[in-house]
């Protein structure tokens, strides 16, 4: 017999909204170092620089020979040794997500770890480990089945990523080549609705040919009133905000007369980010998996003499994101920075190849969301520069500005 669908519940106006909690946050300094690497998508554990013993949980000295420890990438395999389903907790965040499954695993890297366990894994199974960031922004080990199906089916996994499927998204400056690519990628990833902010006055909105879930809205990040007005007019929840706004002009000290460009780069990139974040933070805070995604130049990390003013603006933006990340984490909202190099558009005509295609970059945004990764470098140029910067910031700064 087919079970009948229960009747749709009538909405009660006195229903309390769900308050979002985050998992317990205090960590040791060593653990924060692990989280910083997890934010880049690495799977790392500490290894002794002398005896090469691999250790976990994070320590400050090698437990085998008392030598110095260094972070090193590790094999991702593991075997499940024990499992439990937690049904009682004193923590408010986990209480809201019970039951919660964890397990003890033997990592191929050596140590044994307590991990979040995908619901399809049983004791004795082989697993693939992922080093994720929990809602509090801290590194967390998650065991996934070796044959990856769609982990999104596991509600526990969804706490560590930003699902796009069926979510409402706002994209700023959605009428640029980059913005359009991001909108396309979000639609392809199954977004429920995509609001496309456009800031160019007087230009007819390119509404023709848009899929039905896409809607154009006026949104100019340089105008506080426009930003507050746009958010006030949303008329529904927003789960994800993708900020593609930027103002790119070449020029350093010798180009002359570029103060206005610099001012606009700051107004769009820095103050615009501030205006946007301030307006959307309360909207995102109420959502089960809110995320604020900012697309910024890899030159936020390493200045670029050819684009000195723009790079400075992007550096300021990077700095803002670091602060917002901490602040928004408290409400369970993830702040994701997607870094990229010269894009294949009119802004980078003079920059030597390779350029990154807007569609490739947009795919990077989808990947960052799907992995909940706080920092993602997309494209060869950005990945190369990020790797060099992480290894040696001072040298990278010099050689990049010769």
């Amino acid at each position: 017999m087919r079970r009948q669908q229960p009747p749709r519940p009538v909405r009660d106006p006195l229903t309390r909204p769900v308050e979002r909690q985050v998992p317990p946050a205090p960590r040791s300094r060593a653990m924060h170092a692990m989280s910083a690497r997890a934010a880049q998508g690495r799977f790392v554990l500490q290894r002794c620089t002398e005896c090469e013993a691999v250790t976990y949980p994070p320590r400050d000295i090698c437990p085998v020979c008392w030598g110095e420890l260094a972070w090193a990438d590790q094999p991702r395999g593991a075997t499940i040794l024990a499992a439990t389903m937690i049904r009682v907790t004193t923590d408010l965040y986990f209480h809201a997500h019970l039951p919660w499954r964890i397990g003890t695993v033997a990592l191929d890297a050596g140590p044994v770890a307590i991990v979040h366990l995908h619901r399809d894994l049983a004791v004795g199974d082989r697993a693939t480990m992922r080093l994720m960031l929990d809602k509090g922004g801290n590194a967390a080990l998650f065991a996934l089945p070796e044959q990856e199906g769609n982990p999104m089916a596991d509600p526990q996994w969804r706490e560590f990523v930003v699902p796009v499927q069926d979510r409402a998204v706002l994209v700023t400056d959605g009428d640029t080549a980059l913005g359009k690519a991001v909108v396309r990628a979000l639609v392809a990833a199954g977004a429920h609705s995509v609001l496309v902010g456009t800031s160019t006055p007087g230009v007819p909105m390119p509404a023709e040919g848009d899929p039905e879930q896409v809607r154009q809205v006026p949104l100019d990040l340089t105008d506080s009133q426009s930003v507050t007005h746009c958010i006030a007019q949303l008329g529904g929840p927003i789960d994800i905000v993708v900020n593609t706004a930027r103002f790119v002009r070449p020029g350093g000290v010798s180009a002359g007369g570029r103060l206005l460009h610099q001012q606009r780069a700051l107004d769009v990139g820095v103050l615009g980010l501030l205006r946007l974040a301030e307006a959307v933070a309360p909207v995102l805070a109420g959502r089960p998996a809110g995320a604020f995604v900012d697309l910024l130049s890899i030159h936020a990390l390493v200045g670029d003499a050819r684009f000195a003013g723009f790079s400075a603006a992007e550096a300021a933006r990077h700095s803002l994101l670091q602060s917002f990340r901490h602040e928004m984490r408290a409400t369970g909202v993830r702040v994701l920075s997607v870094f990229f190099g010269a894009i294949d558009d009119e802004d980078h005509q003079s920059v030597p190849f390779p350029h990154i295609a807007p569609d490739r970059l947009a795919q990077g945004v989808i990947e960052a969301l799907a992995s909940g990764r706080e920092q993602q470098a997309v494209g060869d140029v950005a990945r190369d520069l990020m790797a060099r910067w992480l290894a040696d910031p001072a040298t990278t700064n010099r050689e990049n500005n010769l």
């Binding site: 007087g202 340089t222 009133q225 007369g257």
Partner: protein, 265 residues
């Protein structure tokens, strides 16, 4: 001539009695009021922006005020001679040096709204002006010449700037028309409803941007983004247009009003 004191008293009485009306020719300054868009190689005009400092809140419990920013040529605005290279050496070329006497001048309104509706690139020629004079009479000296195009009715739509792939499209004068107005008719300046005194495509004219070139090279002024010109008589309106006293400024947003005889129809 009437006694000046009597004249002022009559003006005040007229205003009080409603026999003289004040018509606002100014568009509202707001962040979304469009500004002129130049080709990409040039610097751009900043739109109006407003950030609240306090609004009866912690930053000012009992008072409300904003910081505002804009270009000198944002919204309804005044062009001083120094705005153009032809006027850069004039002694009274910047807004702080404009003679107060020039804040008040009569106006003549030339209606080209029908022509503009038919052709958004309509060009005002000397021939058109002469034909107009044949119908309405000679343009008197020391008057603002106001071009009524009804363009202000497009404010709030993309058709106001009317940007196309090849730039803006809006009516304006050619060089001969400007020389006629400045040299033969000694106008105070040219006032328009569009975003510039020159036509949208005037940079492509054989003699590019003639209104700016000729007006400002001869110490005359421009008023742009005016509104309500259709509410003014052909002759007889008096324009009050006093730009902000910006040191060395090339122009200024301002409130422009017209004094018009007669009760509202």
């Amino acid at each position: 001539m009437t006694d000046p004191a009597d004249a002022l008293a009559a003006l005040v009485d007229g205003l009080a009695a409603g026999a003289i009306r004040v018509v606002d020719l100014t568009n509202t300054l707001s962040p979304d009021f469009p500004v002129i868009v130049l080709p990409a190689e040039f610097g751009q005009c900043a739109p109006f922006r407003m950030e609240p400092v306090s609004r009866y809140d912690g930053d000012g419990p009992a008072w409300y005020w904003n910081n505002i920013s804009m270009n000198e040529h944002t919204g309804t605005h005044f062009d001083a001679p120094a705005h153009w290279i032809t006027g850069r050496d004039l002694p009274e070329g910047t807004v702080d040096r404009v003679a107060p006497r020039d804040f008040v001048h009569p106006a003549v309104v030339i209606d080209i709204s029908a022509e503009s509706a038919a052709d958004e690139d309509f060009v005002v020629t000397r021939a058109l002006l002469e034909a107009w004079e044949a119908r309405h009479g000679r343009i008197p000296p020391r008057h603002w010449v106001l071009l009524r195009t009804d363009w202000y009715k497009r404010v709030g739509t993309p058709e106001y700037l009317n940007l196309k792939a090849d730039g803006a499209h809006s009516p304006g004068p050619d060089g001969d028309a400007m020389r006629f107005l400045v040299h033969a008719r000694d106008c105070v300046g040219l006032g328009v409803e569009t975003v510039g005194t020159d036509a949208g495509q005037a940079s492509r004219f054989d003699e590019p941007l003639p209104a700016h070139t000729i007006l400002h090279g001869n110490g005359r002024y421009g008023l742009q983004c005016l509104t309500n010109l259709d509410k003014l008589p052909v002759f007889g309106a008096v324009i009050l247009a006093s730009p902000l006293k910006i040191q060395g400024g090339s122009g200024s947003p301002l409130r422009v009003v017209a004094l018009v005889a007669g009760r509202a129809g």
